[in-house]
């Protein structure tokens, strides 16, 4: 037997260490479709509980939208279940090309290439377009998938302090001798909910002859007046060289992602990006669903407008109740608790009150920055948010943190 007691012991020991540190992750099975109201089994084996979901990336409430489900059924019937191939062998259907064209138009770019996920897009894009003669300069809070992608690339990697434009400019000057420079940022930062200063970044990139890369996973579909993303909000549509985004959040929530941008860079990905070359094509059922999502969003801004109103209601309600929030205007609203254990206890108490929201702590967020990350959806009605707010206030009173400053909360619970 190759899997000896010694080998098993090594893994058991490591898993026990994770448990002792209090960072062991457990799944919570949902016995219903993704929506504002869900039925959850937590802990595993317990009775189902109806709760309001405040932690899904289902920003536009399209994950279970009847038109999207209908389109997915139609795609399944007409194009089958799977393609049993990567894209460039026999895995490209007409609907894949249709989706690439729709994304290009929606984002205002030159061309688009689909990937199995945005994680794959970020893992593959840098290695495909850069060499050891180049440099990647990234914001220090970019998503983990971007960090992995940069690790796979031979180009030099440097960072700038989060959203610090003066520091970014210093780095552009420091690396002026490099053949190609790429500045890398998230559009909306997933843990803090703040927005990149894309207008200033475009100006700096033009000044120093650098390309700009933006991950729009937490923005596509709802940020900007017509939901095109952070580049629309900042008035720089057409000026972002590389956009990556996901179809696994606002755009239907199933799976899949893409690289969209300058046509030469997209073509380099078709020739060289390993997750594109060596991983299966997106299933026809998903492609059909996303095609319809983009049709819905191109016809009307109703859903992103509702999300904006819901976000305002939620953020104002929490602020008036006396919670410490991260500033911003996106549907990601972090309620700051600072202490890791408090964030876990707070999340459990919310669940008892019928609200599902997760506590995040180090290493997912910086040390001493534990929080409950809440996410608003257009699938929420005001009565959902009112009930969730009542629960937050009740639990906030229980832990005596309402109206308290950061320093006061840390004095009570530590950080």
């Amino acid at each position: 037997m190759a899997y000896s007691d010694k080998i098993r012991g090594i893994y058991t020991g490591t898993l026990n260490e994770i448990k002792e540190k209090g960072i062991f992750k457990q799944e919570r099975p949902i016995h219903s479709a993704q929506a504002a109201d869900i039925e959850v089994e937590f802990p595993m084996g317990s009775d189902l509980k109806k709760v309001i979901n405040m932690c899904a990336n289902n920003y536009l409430g399209l994950s279970s939208h009847p038109d999207v489900i209908k389109a997915a059924h139609a795609g399944l019937d007409s194009r089958g279940y799977g393609m049993s191939s990567v894209r460039f062998i026999c895995g490209t259907q007409d609907i894949h090309k249709e989706l690439e064209a729709k994304v290009t138009k929606f984002l205002g770019t030159e061309d688009t290439i689909l990937f199995p996920s945005c994680m794959d897009a970020n893992a593959g894009v840098f290695e495909a377009i850069l060499t050891a003669d180049d440099v990647m300069i990234s914001d220090r809070l970019v998503h983990a998938s971007i960090i992995d992608g940069m690790r796979l690339c031979a180009a030099l990697h440097d960072t700038f302090k989060h959203s610090d434009m003066a520091h970014l400019e210093e780095k552009l000057q420091l690396h002026a001798d490099k053949r190609l420079k790429v500045v890398i940022t998230d559009g909306v930062f997933s843990m803090d909910g703040d927005t990149a200063k894309l207008d200033e970044m475009v100006a700096l990139c033009e000044k120093y002859d650098a390309m700009l890369f933006v991950d729009e996973s937490h923005s596509s579909g709802f940020i900007g007046k017509t939901g095109r993303g952070t580049h629309e909000k900042c008035g720089v549509v057409g000026k972002i060289d590389i956009i990556t985004t996901t179809f696994g959040k606002a755009l239907g929530g199933a799976s899949g992602g893409c690289v969209s941008g300058r046509k030469e860079l997209v073509e380099m990905c078709r020739q060289k990006a390993r997750p594109y070359l060596f991983s299966n094509t997106i299933a026809p059922v998903v492609v059909s669903g996303v095609n319809t999502v983009l049709d819905i969003l191109s016809k009307s801004t109703e859903r992103r407008d509702k999300l904006e109103k819901n976000t305002e209601f939620w953020r104002n309600g929490l602020a008036e109740a006396g919670f410490v929030l991260k500033e911003g205007d996106t549907p990601i609203v972090p309620v700051m608790l600072f202490n890791a254990k408090l964030s876990q206890d707070f999340s459990k108490a919310l669940y008892e009150e019928g609200v599902y929201a997760i506590g995040f702590f180090f290493p997912v967020v910086p040390q001493g920055q534990a929080r409950i990350r809440t996410q608003v959806s257009a699938g929420h009605e005001i009565h959902h948010l009112e009930k969730a707010l009542e629960a937050f206030i009740k639990v906030g009173k229980k832990f005596d943190i309402l109206g308290k400053t950061k320093q006061e909360i840390i004095a009570m619970y530590g950080n």
Binding site: L156, H157, D158, T159, K171, L174, H175, P366
Partner: protein, 81 residues
Amino acid sequence: MAEMKDIVLQYVINEYLEDEDEVLSYDSPLISGGIVDSFSMVSLKRFLENKYKISIPDDKATPEAFDTVNKICALVNEYIK
């Protein structure tokens, strides 16, 4: 040498410290102390090369050689002509 130490120390403080109250000395462990990670060492090396017009071979730019301001300055001085 004293001036170089202050320049390097100030660069490290400006570049890597998030907590304004943290105090660093010439002998504070930067890499082994978790202040500078392996990604960030790259910018420190490039800063030194640009500032002092030198080229530090990659095999000399080890985490040990970059672990304190004193060690960094000793390394830089080996390459200044």
